[in-house]
């Protein structure tokens, strides 16, 4: 009996020594690479990555622009009915694709921007002079209050609303229930050399809503062809609320990027300024 008790006590002592050794070894090497290697496990800090970023309008955090749908309309002045750009659909598509690539890169692939081109040509009831006057007025207004109101855009929307068949769901009202942020881009055909109106250069216009206007010469005129996509990207940028980073009165630019002097850059070499991106991205 005494022998048995002695054996049990010896066994318990050995067991206790082994347990303590294992316990303290574990405590000593826990989390250490030696422990990891011995036990072929890797115990680094737990990490989960939240990559998804919220991108919103520059001046309105509540409106997300993670998904954007840009609808494109090609409107031709009455007196320029035979001046339409040949292969306009293809040219628009290729240009808009590059604009889309540009924005996706600039927003760290957090923005998905799609384009839909209204497949029909829309012929206006008004002639070039009518639009030129409207644009000239808008340019005057813009000096005082940039991107606030545009009579030209108002006029175009009004005219398009009458012309576009509601049944094909191409109405111009913003469909708020839609997941994507919708932007309208109007390409206005006023013929060649229309970039100078009443001695003022015009590349594009915006209103305070989500509408932009560019003149078609940016696709057809050799002088503008190389940076037409930057112009579109710039104007779309305004629909996101981005400000111009140049002065309207002189030649001063605050940036060489898209919203500054970069408007004349080729799109592939262009970039969006950090000061703008930082305001639009919630990290």
């Amino acid at each position: 009996m005494r022998e048995k008790i002695k054996k049990i006590i010896s066994f318990l002592i050995v067991l206790a020594i082994i347990s303590l050794t294992i316990f303290y070894s574990y405590r000593l090497f826990e989390g250490d690479i030696i422990f990891d290697i011995f036990f072929n496990v890797f115990k680094g800090p737990d990490q989960t990555y939240q990559k998804q970023k919220n991108i919103h309008l520059y001046d309105n955090e509540s409106v997300s622009v993670n998904k954007v749908l840009t609808r494109v309309y090609y409107l031709i002045a009455k007196d320029k009915s035979d001046s339409e750009i040949s292969n306009w659909e293809q040219i628009f598509e290729e240009s808009l694709k590059r604009v889309s690539d540009f924005y996706e890169l600039q927003f760290d692939f957090g923005m998905e921007i799609d384009f839909q081109i209204y497949e029909k040509l829309i012929f206006s009831e008004y002639e070039t002079d009518f639009f030129s006057d409207l644009i000239a007025n808008d340019l005057e207004q813009e000096l005082e209050k940039p991107h606030s109101e545009s009579e030209t855009i108002k006029q175009i929307i009004q005219e398009l609303e009458n012309k576009i068949d509601e049944k094909d769901k191409w109405g111009l009202e913003i469909e708020t229930e839609n997941e994507a942020h919708i932007v309208n881009l109007f390409v206005l055909e006023l013929g060649p050399n229309s970039f100078e109106i009443e001695n003022k250069e015009i590349l594009g216009l915006n209103d305070e809503k989500n509408n932009s206007l560019v003149l078609s010469f940016i696709f057809s005129d050799e002088k503008f062809k190389d940076f037409s996509e930057s112009i579109i990207a710039h104007e779309i940028g305004h629909t996101f609320g981005m400000p111009d980073l140049y002065s309207y009165t002189g030649d001063e630019i605050k940036s060489a990027g898209l919203m500054g002097g970069g408007i004349t850059r080729k799109i592939k070499s262009n970039y969006l300024e950090y000061q703008i991106k930082e305001k639009m991205i919630d990290y």
Binding site: E3, F42, G44, Q47, D108, F227, S228, I253, Y271
Partner: protein, 591 residues
């Protein structure tokens, strides 16, 4: 009853000591070696990563130095403002600088008030490139103040770019304008993307905002991708160095790879050079080593245990041989020879044991010889004395008075005991000398036994003891010596009569079992204790207690019985209960 001491196993002790002294140091050495190897490897990894980071950083610094040095222009004239220099000359210089620096997308000369005066550009869509006033731009402001400007990295569809700006100085080293250039970082990427550590380790460059400029692992992330969501990367971007040795430097990266993380920030441009080395790849050597180590350890352990077993056996075997020899000697087997062939002290001990046995045997033989001769020489006088005493008591030499008869009868009794003693001693001596004559042949057992029983009827009756013989129904033929069988039976019945002090019964029965004829002699005597039972058949052993004090005996009878029965290929045994009686049994083979 004394407690029987239990002995532990010497072999187990030897084995335990050998295993413990072999295994524990081996385990300790193994663990220390492995820990050292892993720690050293970890330090090597850290050093290697640091070297790679340092090398990559140097490349980047050299690249930037080379560019900015080109743009730091001193004109060998003394105008107040760069605008005072001919435009054609400036265009020529700008073109030269663009080519000298290489990878320049655009180079612009800006006069000291911020107006661009010459621009050579590959990136402008408008030709000629528009010249603007950039006095509000950071690049101009910093350069005109005398500091070189390294702008943030921008990501274009053609790759990462950055702006550099430096001063244009006149002959008197006065700042008369600024050069602003946009350079492509693609060549830097091409150069640094070749960097590898081990097979899977890679290096990447992060800008001050946490975006990826380039990585030597193309799958790691997209160019321009913001990686500041990774805490380790964010930490380096914030200016904290990592060397791969801290616990948090081992983490699961966005590719879900377990990596060792190391990184450092370049203060001039606030770019972070980071290295990640997948843990599996970095420790592949150690893993292979550990695997090999474990195998070697396992084999060594098995060898230690195996050799310990063999060694323990080698140590214990001679001891067992000595122990067995001692047992044999104690049994009286003096012909036993201890054989230990170890060639060492143990073999010497075995030889000394054998010498001791030899001397013991010689002594034993001398003693037996003396014993045999002595008893043989004693037998004749005591037998003659016995005859003369008988003749005197029968009146052959005249009439005896009562007193004389009594004395002579006492002398005859004593002489009878002496005769018996001499007879027994002679039997023992013969037996030990191997001279006891036994002729085993088929005999009629019942007839022989009946004769003996018949002889003891009267002495039994005198002691008021009933001698009962359960005679088998038919005669049984056994293999035995009838004379010796009688001797055995005589001894057993004689003992039964002697040790049955009160009136009682002695019963002789038989049974046949396993081709053996078994005879039981059962008495109702005083019985034998368990302790005495153990030595019952040992020579000269007698049960000594108060009851046996007056009983005469030599202590040789049962020893002789055992010797005879064994010589007749039988067995003898006894069962007894103290105070109730004993049963002595012997078996002999059937014919």
């Amino acid at each position: 009853m004394p407690e029987i001491k239990k002995y532990s196993n010497f072999r187990s002790k030897v084995l335990n000591v050998l295993v413990l002294t072999g295994v524990i140091p081996l385990l300790i050495i193994s663990v220390i070696s492995l820990v050292t190897v892993v720690k050293t490897r970890l330090e090597n990894i850290s050093e290697l990563q640091s070297e790679v980071i340092e090398g990559t950083s140097e490349k980047i610094e050299r690249y930037l130095d080379q560019k900015i040095n080109v743009f730091n222009l001193v004109i060998d004239l003394n105008p107040e403002n760069i605008s005072g220099v001919k435009k054609e000359s400036l265009e020529f210089i700008a073109q030269g600088l663009k080519e000298a620096a290489g990878d320049v997308n655009e180079i612009t000369f800006v006069e000291k008030y911020g107006k661009e005066i010459v621009k050579i550009s590959d990136i402008q869509g408008l030709t000629p490139a528009p010249l603007k006033n950039i006095k509000e731009r950071e690049s101009f402001k910093k350069a005109i103040s005398g500091e070189n400007y390294f702008g943030p990295v921008y990501y274009t569809l053609l790759g990462p770019v950055m702006h550099l700006a430096s001063q244009i100085e006149n002959k008197d080293r006065n700042i008369i304008g600024v050069i602003v250039a946009e350079i492509s970082l693609n060549p830097l990427e091409r150069e640094a993307s070749q960097v590898k550590i081990g097979r899977e380790g890679f290096v990447y460059l992060i800008d001050e905002y946490g975006s990826l400029i380039f990585s030597s692992n193309k799958d790691f992330a997209r160019q321009g991708e913001d990686l500041s969501y990774v805490p380790q990367i964010k930490d380096v971007v914030d200016g904290n160095s990592h060397n791969g040795l801290a616990k948090e430097d081992r983490y699961t990266n966005p590719l879900n790879q377990k990596v060792i993380f190391s990184g450092n920030r370049l203060e001039r441009v606030k770019w972070s050079v980071i290295s990640e080395w997948p843990w599996k790849d970095a420790f592949l050597v150690v893993e292979v080593m550990i695997e090999g180590f474990l195998w070697i350890m396992l084999i060594t352990l098995l060898l230690i245990v195996g050799s310990s077993l063999i060694f323990a056996r080698l140590v214990v075997r001679p001891i067992e041989a000595l122990s067995k020899g001692a047992d044999e000697i104690s049994k009286g087997n003096l012909d036993y020879k201890i054989d230990i062939g170890t060639g060492d002290e143990l073999e010497k001990l075995g030889e000394r044991f054998n010498n001791m046995i030899k001397i013991l045997k010689e002594n034993e033989e001398l003693r037996d010889q003396f014993f045999f001769i002595a008893t043989h020489e004693l037998r004749a006088p005591v037998t003659v004395t016995k005859a003369y005493l008988a003749m005197i008591l029968e009146g052959e030499y005249g009439k005896l008075n009562k007193k004389m008869r009594k004395v002579l009868e006492t002398s005859q009794n004593l002489n009878e005991r002496l005769v018996k003693l001499v007879h027994d001693l002679l039997e023992v001596a013969r037996s030990e000398a191997g001279k006891i004559e036994i002729e085993v042949e088929p005999i009629m057992a019942v007839k022989v036994i009946k004769e003996i029983v018949q002889e003891y009827k009267e002495p039994a009756a005198k002691k008021d003891i009933k001698l009962v013989y359960q005679e088998p129904e038919k005669e049984i033929e056994i293999m035995a010596d009838s004379y010796r069988l009688k001797e055995v039976l005589t001894n057993l019945i004689d003992n039964a009569l002697k040790y049955t002090l009160k009136k009682g019964k002695i019963e002789i029965t038989h049974e046949i079992k396993d081709k053996n004829f078994i005879t039981h002699v059962k008495d109702q005597g005083m019985g034998i204790s368990k302790k005495d039972m153990e030595n019952l058949f040992t020579r000269f052993y007698r049960v000594k207690n108060e009851k046996t004090k007056g009983i005469v005996g030599t202590g040789l009878g049962l020893f002789i019985c055992k010797e005879i029965i064994q010589r007749m290929n039988g067995k003898i045994w006894a069962e007894s209960e103290l105070g109730k009686g004993s049963t002595f049994s012997f078996s002999l083979p059937l014919a």
